[in-house]
Symmetry: C2
Subunit: 399 residues, 2 copies
């Protein structure tokens, strides 16, 4: 059985999936990696198999995988030219099976759920997490329960509901719901694998390993990633820390966590040099996937970012929406507004003279724009109309 | 310069991208592959580089790629058990950069466009083709023109418009528009890479090569694929034919082309043993991506399917919608209604006793369900509602 550790209190605890938080400081617990000889199995097919030595799984059933991971890293050569940037790459997590990075966490947590004997799993989400959890439950033959906020659009409910989960639209405070889910899980034998679940975090380490391998066994200077609850960036940092521990890396990249100005509890605490964040009042941003006013991993993110010499940055909705269009229009990458924050942050660093001329950046693009088409402003996208007979005349005029 | 050939008239012609149809029989022309020693370059990164020897490209600029292809093949072990099926796999083309198989064609056609000196490309589409063409144009720094039908939803216009093409909503007959596009292209120097473009078709061959490699250098017994204009299945068949020609395969798989009953011009002609298809009157199906009443590659598909011992099958909207839910609910795969036709066809073959107990099938899943969420019937997806305080009681009741 894994031991979980609190990085703040430096204490270890037995695994209890219904209570993955430190009993003393309430910060999320993470898996204590057992010291052993670890290596990458590059001859294997699935990412979870390639990185098996780094994962807290006794066994991997390939039937539970939807072939997540192994996502492309793409040089953004046109944006580089446009803005005089140093080498810039996008790690495109949209090309996961349910079109977001969440799948990397789901596959590990679902394997763990099955090995612990659970027949049901659950999560709380308004978007990416719902679809990912329900899809992996379906593939593994588990029941799933998804709690969504009352203002979730019908389209998002359908996109998760298609996988056959028990779906509940819940009225009330999200923080209360978060805690209630673990209690319901404990009573009804449902493993609620929420945003900072320790096994999800283990799954996100694979993104760090892939970036390292795709950059020819080097780390970039910057890894820039959107931050919501905090699980994703914690996993990325843990992955690079393990690479360093195993002697693959002389030093870590700088991690830049990005939030939307309209909901930036962690970035605000970072800027004000506070040790912990406060709940963000009246969150308001188009980047819904990262609009979390009270992130359960927030303090741990602050600590890890500071210890590794990184930074938290906030960008405005105008900046991130502009970045979203730039990624599509210049690089053919259509991501969601939350993902676009990372380009906005890079351009801000560049403008502030804070980017070395030879510093390499990897932008982690976390989710597909196809799930948030309704958030594109329609007056920013023009179209013409014509009868087929008038088309030649129109085209001669406009093209 | 490539030569194009008509497989019906057995004649060859010089390449003219503005008129890729046989001047004698009007069937689509395909690239005549030059005889040479060809091999797979498995040590390379991009699919277009791996299969370069099989592609009519003088040079490949990796900067034009969005890292299309190399998509997963996944065993559908739960559906296999549910329905007593022989080995069944899904080739998941949703995991291409713009979430459909079209990207494999776009990357090859765009490379060709640049090498021919074009600064602008175009296409006609209501969905997948629009996004793919506009995205690849953006990445290559080309202008793009997208003609869409007047009933195209605003959401689909936005999902293509985000890449910055010139978009025109066109009123009138789709067949007339198809021909008009080539004329506009000729006059204005725009390479209209439409559905049966010969270089798109070359790109689709890569799917055949990957299936072969992923099945451990064998072909499956059946390759089942949705059919609209015909370009995709023509490319798949051409790919397997080239594998056979080069001695990799003793015999071809049987190709099963699937259409929706509500728009099945090719399947109807096949069933009635007609040499050519007739325009399908009053098309009506939820599988919009394959609702083409007058497919430009239809007769060629009929000919190739017959010559290789395959079949065309039509499935009803009820069958394909049920199959769509089965793929999501049992296998965690959320595809569009058009893609789901392939599972519906397989179940039909099984029910009719036409599937050998050891025959292996590959279902080609062509596009993501995320682009057609509005086509899910909302009364087929249930959800509950509760205040957070009542959640425990509700869950005890329903779970």
């Amino acid at each position: 059985m894994e031991r979980l550790g609190c990085l703040v209190c430096r204490k270890e605890f037995d695994l209890n999936v219904h209570s993955p938080f430190c009993p003393e400081c309430a910060e999320p617990l993470i898996v204590v990696s057992k010291k052993k000889v670890r290596k990458f199995h590059l001859d294997r097919n699935l990412a979870v198999e390639v990185f098996e030595d780094y994962l807290p799984l006794d066994k991997i059933d390939p039937h539970f995988s939807l072939q997540e991971g192994d996502t492309p890293i793409i040089e953004l050569h046109r944006l580089r030219k446009d803005f005089g940037l140093p080498p810039t790459f996008a790690k495109n997590e949209c090309l996961n099976p349910t079109a977001s990075f969440k799948d990397r966490g789901s596959v590990v947590a679902v394997q763990k759920a099955v090995s612990l004997g659970f027949k049901s799993i659950g999560t709380i989400s308004t978007g990416n997490m719902a679809g990912s959890t329900a899809a992996y439950a379906a593939k593994a033959g588990l029941k799933s329960v998804i709690f969504v906020k009352e203002d979730t659009t019908n389209e998002k409910i359908m996109a998760a509901g298609v996988y056959g989960p028990v779906l509940v639209k819940v009225r009330g405070d999200y923080g209360v719901l978060f805690r209630a889910s673990f209690e319901i899980g404990r009573r009804q034998g449902i493993y609620f694998m929420n945003s900072v679940d320790p096994f999800r975090i283990e799954g996100y380490k694979a993104t760090a390993f892939e970036i390292f391998l795709q950059m020819e066994s080097r780390a970039p200077d910057y890894v820039i990633v959107p931050v919501s609850a905090g699980g994703h960036i914690i996993g990325l940092i843990k992955g690079f820390l393990e690479l360093k521990e195993d002697g693959y890396l002389p030093h870590l990249p700088a991690f830049i966590g990005v939030q939307a100005k309209g909901c930036s509890p962690i970035a605000r605490a970072f800027e004000r040099k506070k040790p912990t964040f406060s709940r963000f009042p009246n969150p308001r941003t188009v980047a819904h996937a990262i609009s979390n006013p009270n992130p359960p991993g927030g303090n741990l993110v602050l600590k890890l970012i500071r210890e590794t010499g990184g930074a938290m940055i906030a960008v405005s909705d105008a900046e991130l929406l502009k970045a979203q269009r730039l990624l599509a229009d210049r690089e053919g990458l259509f991501c969601d507004p939350a993902s676009a924050t990372v380009l906005a942050a890079l351009l801000k660093l560049k403008k502030g003279g804070k980017l070395g001329p030879r510093s390499t950046s990897v932008l982690v693009i976390t989710g597909s724009g196809l799930k948030t088409v309704e958030d594109l402003s329609s007056d920013s996208i023009d179209y013409h109309e014509a009868a087929v007979g008038d088309l030649e005349t129109l085209m001669a005029d406009i093209f």
